[in-house]
Symmetry: C2
Subunit: 159 residues, 2 copies
DNA sequence: GTCAGTGCAAAAGATTTGCATGCGA
DNA sequence: TCGCATGCAAATCTTTTGCACTGAC
């Protein structure tokens, strides 16, 4: 997996290639994003960045996350709660899906080769050439079932 | 599968049970929704209902679709385009997933037992008890690959 | 110095809510 | 009649945009 530093460097490189400028705001937002525990909402990101740099506006966070998406360094996700979240996309790493606890909001990532192949087969059987997919499993995690789980929290937090 | 009439009756029954009233607006919205080709946006639904009944406001469509969700007669979906759509949920029928054409927006429903079982197994392996899931496959359908496909249209339309 | 980048506030789009009135039971 | 349901408009919430100013190159 790419390190934070590598991703950060990749971002600056991408900016330069497109003839865009590196700025303190972009740097700070990218750094916070790459260092994050993933699945951040814009608001999460904004608040984290403000801790580091007071001089960052909401609009710039939106504009920068869009740049990160363009560079394929961030991925946008719409989970079932309707809130948009962003995660580090790891193009050089394996694709993964999500398993989400309905009680505590914990998000577990997983990858299953058998599943991927089965999806391809299903799509093929219906005449499609598969480009990508999205899959989320929702349930209750072991901790919550055993009563040790935290009370309901905002999904997106790391468990 | 429940007929439109049965679903409509179920809705009115549910309202009565909750001590809520049946009104012309609710009836019309529900009827249009049950008769629909599925995957309607609020706006789609509003426009369809207005054809039948001029005296329906946007807010009432929102309020009624929420009632339908509560009765488990409608299901909310957030596809990757970020737009919220609603479909008839068919609790008595088999669960299904979606295969969506990136070019023409066609939505094909499918159900695969093997896939369902595999998901259960994956969740179990990670300590979860699975409650539900969401899966969407995106790709290009045969018609579009063969050049016969319509040009890009709004997703959600029936192909 | 130039022009892209920024913050702010206003705009835009989606959804919800307050309130006076309408209407079902 | 009584109180829930409705339409409208205003309020929210999220995201985008216009504009004058700032700062990277």
């Amino acid at each position: 997996m790419q390190s934070r530093t590598e991703r950060f460097a990749a971002f600056r490189r991408a900016l330069k290639e497109k003839g865009l400028k590196s700025t303190a705001q972009r740097d700070d937002i990218a750094r916070v994003f790459f260092a994050s525990t993933r699945h951040l909402s814009i608001d999460d990101l904004y608040r984290e960045v403000r801790k580091v740099n007071e001089r960052v506006g909401y609009a710039t966070v939106y504009r920068t996350i869009k740049l990160l998406k363009d560079c394929e360094l961030a991925e946008e996700r719409h989970f079932a709660d309707g809130h948009t979240r962003y995660e580090n996309s790891e193009s050089d790493e394996e694709h993964h899906d999500h398993l989400i606890c309905d009680n505590c909001g914990k998000i577990v990532e997983f990858n299953d080769e058998k599943l991927e192949r089965l999806q391809e087969k299903i799509a093929e059987g219906l005449g499609f050439v598969l480009a990508r997919h999205r899959m989320e499993l929702y349930g209750i995690c072991r901790e919550c079932r055993e009563g040790a789980g935290r009370l309901k929290t905002r999904p997106g937090e790391r468990g």
